[in-house]
Symmetry: C2
Subunit: 422 residues, 2 copies
C-alpha cells in the first residue's frame, strides 16, 4: 500500500483524489499496489471541497510523516514549493508536481537534490499530453531538430476565435474570462510566459540546456488585430502562439511568440483550447502530440500517471533524462539578436507619394528583402495600412529597421511584427 | 559499455546501427553508457549492406555470447523469432523487437517468460509514434474508453489518393507498389491484418485483454470505390481504415475496417502515409498521436529508444503494463455479432418500380432504420446505384439484412458495406 499526500487541494488536487478513488481497481492492477491519498494540506480549512480525505494546514505534518511515500505538490508559486519539495526529497519521499514556474527556475537544482528519488512532472507541460515522457523516452534516439508547441489553451482559444469569427482581441479576452479560460489578470497566459515555462522544461529534456525565462525571447498575442488575420487568410496562413525550440549546429533557439504558419501544417489544425506539440527528430521525422492542455481532470490524469509509474517502476533515470550532462557543454543558447526568421510587418502610414519608397529604402539599408506587400485602406482618412512579408533575416536587422521606420514622421502608429514559420 | 546484437540486418537493422553510430555522443549522455552494436546475424552473408559490424549466420553465436547484453530481433516471421527471444530471455539478455505479428500471438507468453528482464517493443506499433509508452505510462490513470488508429500507412496513402484524385483502388495500388509503399502481395496491408496486429498489442496495454487476430473483426479496403468516395464527400465524411478498440461497461470491442468518419475530426486530418492514433481516456479526454508509421529510420528510432530506456532505467514494470492481471477477468471481448455501429450500404439494382420499397421493407424487417438514401445512375442501362446510411444497429442485424437483400433477383451485385464512426 502506497500513501500519498496532496499539498494544495484545489481543482487539480481534488481531481487527483477523485481519479485514485474512481479508478482504484484499474490503477492498483497497473501499479501493483493500492494507492491511497491519506492527507491533504490546505491553507484554509473552511473552504468547501468535494473530497473525503483528512485535511491539515500544517505542511510539516506530511513532510515528517514516515508513512507517506509520495508528495504531490500542487501549491503554486515558486519559493515555497521549492522549499517543500526539497524537504520531501531529503526525507526520501518521491515527489510529483505540476508546477511549471517552479521547474522553469529550479529543475536542475531539484534533479541534483533528488538523485535517485523519483520526481514526476508530466503534468507541468500540457497536462493531457504525455509529452515529457515522449521526449524523455520515446524520442531519445534522436537529435531533436525542433519543437513547435501550442502550449497555452487560452491563447489558442482566443486566436482561433479571432480567425474564425472576426472578433477583436479585447472582446474575445472578455469572453475567455467569462468562460473561465482566461484569468482576471491574463498577462501570464496572453503574454507568452506560461508557454515559455513549459518550453524551458521541454528544452532541458531535448537538449540538456539550462535556460531561464529571462534568457529567451517571449512575446504575447496582445497586439494581434483583424488586419493581421486578414493578411493571414489572404496568404493561406493562420496565426498561433508557438513555443519554439530549434537546433542548428550547436546553437539552440528558444522563443515564444505569435507566428504566421501555413494552414496545411498539422500544428495549424489544432484549434480552440486544445494543445499540440510537433517534434522533429533527425531520424524519426515529425511526430505530433495533441490533447487537452489544462483543466483539472487532464492535469490530474498526468499527476496520477506519474504516481503509477513511480510505484510500478521506480525511476532510476534522472529527472531530465540525461545520465551525463555533456550536452550543456556542447550546445549554446543562441542570443536573441541572432535568431533568423521570416517576418510580417503591419504599419499605418500617411497615404501620400514617397512613403512606400521611403520604407522600402530603409528595409534595403538593413539588407532586408521584401517578399509581398499588401496595401489596405485604413479607417482614418488619408491613412493607409501597409502589410509586408519579409524574407529571412536576423532579429537584429528587423528590429533596427523597425526602429528606423518608426522614427519617420509619415508613420502613424507603432509597427506590429509577427514572425513567419514555414 | 553495453553490447547489442541485431538479428536480421535489413533496412531497419542497418538503420539501428546507423543511429547508434551517428548519435553516439548524445545517446551515451542519455543512456549513461556507451552502446555498441557488436554483431549482426543474417541469413545471407553475400548480400550487400552498408554497415561495418561483424556479421554471422549463426544465431546461437550471439544467444550464447555472455558479452552481449541486448538482443534486437528484426527477423520477421513468428515461430523462429519466438524461439530466439525465449532463448535470449533464458540467457538473461534484454530484448527489443519490432515484430508485431509475433506479439499479436505471443505477447503474454513472452511477458510470462521475461518476468523482470526488459522487453522493448515500441517499434512494433507505428514506429515513429511512441504510442506504446504513451498508453503504458502517460495515460495509465485512465480507463481507456476508445482507441482509434490509422496504423497502416499503405492503406492511408491509397485512401487519401482515392479521395483527393478520384483514382481507382487498382490504379492506386499499382502506384503504391511502384513507390514501395505496398508489397507485391498487398493482402497483409490492404486486408487490415497489419493494423489488427498492432491493435491487439495496444489493447493489451489498455485493457489487459488477451485476444488473437482470429478473434476479432478484420476487413480491408479492397472493395472501396469511387461511389463510396462520392458519398463520403457529399456528406462531409472521409474514408479511413481504422483500428478500433472500444470499452462499454465490461465489454471490449476490437475491430479493423474502413470507416466513414467526419472530416472535422482530428483523426480524419491524417493523410498520406502518416499514422495517427486517437485515444480517449475517462479523465484525460482525447489525446492524439501523429507520426511516421513505417520506414527504416522511424522504426529504428523506436528500437533505439527502447535500448536507451533499458540501459538507463531498466524495466521493473511488466512488459504489457499490468502488475496484476485482474483486468482480463473483468473485461470480455464483445462477440463480433454484438458490435453496434452506423452503416453505409452501396448496391446496384435493376431500375424499376418496387425495388426500393422491397429493400426498405427487408431493412425494416430486421428493425433497421434508414438515415439517408442517395440514388445515382449506374454505368449500365436500366441499373441504378443505391447508397444508404443506416442508423445504429448490431452487426448481426445488418449482416442478416444484407444476406436477405442479396437474395433478391433485382440486385445486380454484392452489397458493399462501410461502417460509419461518429
Amino acid at each position: 500500500m502506497i500513501n500519498v499526500a496532496i499539498i494544495g487541494v484545489g481543482t487539480v488536487g481534488q481531481s487527483v483524489a477523485k481519479i485514485l478513488k474512481e479508478n482504484k481497481t484499474l490503477i492498483s492492477a497497473r501499479a501493483g499496489e493500492e494507492i491511497n491519498v491519506v492527507k491533504g494540506v490546505v491553507k484554509d480549512l473552511s473552504k468547501k471541497r468535494d473530497i473525503s480525505i483528512p485535511l491539515t494546514t500544517n505542511i510539516d505534518e506530511v513532510l515528517n510523516d514516515d508513512s507517506i511515500d509520495i508528495i504531490v505538490e500542487l501549491m503554486g508559486g515558486i519559493d515555497e514549493p521549492y522549499r517543500v519539495i526539497k524537504a520531501a526529497l531529503t526525507n526520501k519521499k518521491a515527489v510529483v508536481t505540476a508546477n511549471k514556474a517552479l521547474l522553469a527556475y529550479h529543475r536542475y537544482d531539484l534533479q541534483e537534490i533528488a538523485k535517485n528519488i523519483p520526481i514526476g512532472y508530466e503534468a507541468s507541460v500540457a497536462g493531457g499530453i504525455p509529452i515529457i515522457n515522449a521526449l524523455k523516452v520515446g524520442l531519445s534516439a534522436n537529435q531533436i531538430l525542433s519543437i513547435k508547441g501550442i502550449m497555452n489553451g487560452t491563447c489558442n482559444y482566443m486566436l482561433t476565435k479571432m480567425m474564425n469569427e472576426n472578433v477583436s482581441f479585447n472582446d474575445i479576452l472578455k469572453e475567455a474570462q467569462e468562460l473561465g479560460y482566461a484569468e482576471a489578470d491574463p498577462t501570464f497566459d496572453v503574454g507568452g510566459f506560461d508557454a515559455a515555462h513549459k518550453l524551458l522544461i521541454l528544452a532541458s529534456i531535448a537538449y540538456g540546456i539550462d535556460a531561464k525565462p529571462e534568457d529567451i525571447l517571449i512575446e504575447g498575442i496582445e497586439d494581434i488585430n483583424e488586419h493581421d488575420m486578414d493578411f493571414a487568410k489572404e496568404f493561406g496562413y493562420c496565426i498561433k502562439l508557438l513555443a519554439i525550440a530549434k537546433k542548428s549546429k550547436n546553437n539552440i533557439e528558444l522563443r515564444v511568440h505569435p507566428v504566421l504558419i501555413k494552414e496545411s501544417q498539422m500544428i495549424a489544425k489544432i484549434d480552440g483550447v486544445m494543445n499540440g506539440i510537433s517534434v522533429i527528430g533527425d531520424f524519426v521525422g515529425e511526430s505530433l502530440y495533441y490533447g487537452a492542455g489544462a483543466g483539472g481532470d487532464a492535469t490530474a490524469s498526468a499527476v496520477v500517471s506519474d504516481i503509477v509509474e513511480i510505484v510500478r517502476a521506480g525511476q532510476s533515470s534522472p529527472m531530465l533524462g540525461f545520465k551525463k550532462p555533456h550536452q550543456s557543454q556542447i550546445l549554446k543558447l543562441l542570443p536573441v539578436d541572432e535568431i533568423e526568421s521570416k517576418y510580417y510587418l503591419r504599419m499605418k502610414v500617411v497615404d501620400k507619394p514617397g512613403v512606400l519608397a521611403n520604407i522600402a529604402s530603409i528595409l534595403a539599408a538593413w539588407d532586408i528583402s521584401i517578399e509581398t506587400i499588401l496595401q489596405r485602406e485604413a479607417k482614418e482618412k488619408n491613412k493607409a495600412m501597409l502589410l509586408f512579408s519579409i524574407h529571412t533575416c536576423k532579429e537584429r536587422q528587423i528590429k533596427s529597421a523597425i526602429k528606423d521606420i518608426e522614427a519617420q514622421e509619415t508613420l502613424n502608429s507603432k509597427i506590429s511584427m509577427i514572425r513567419i514559420e514555414d
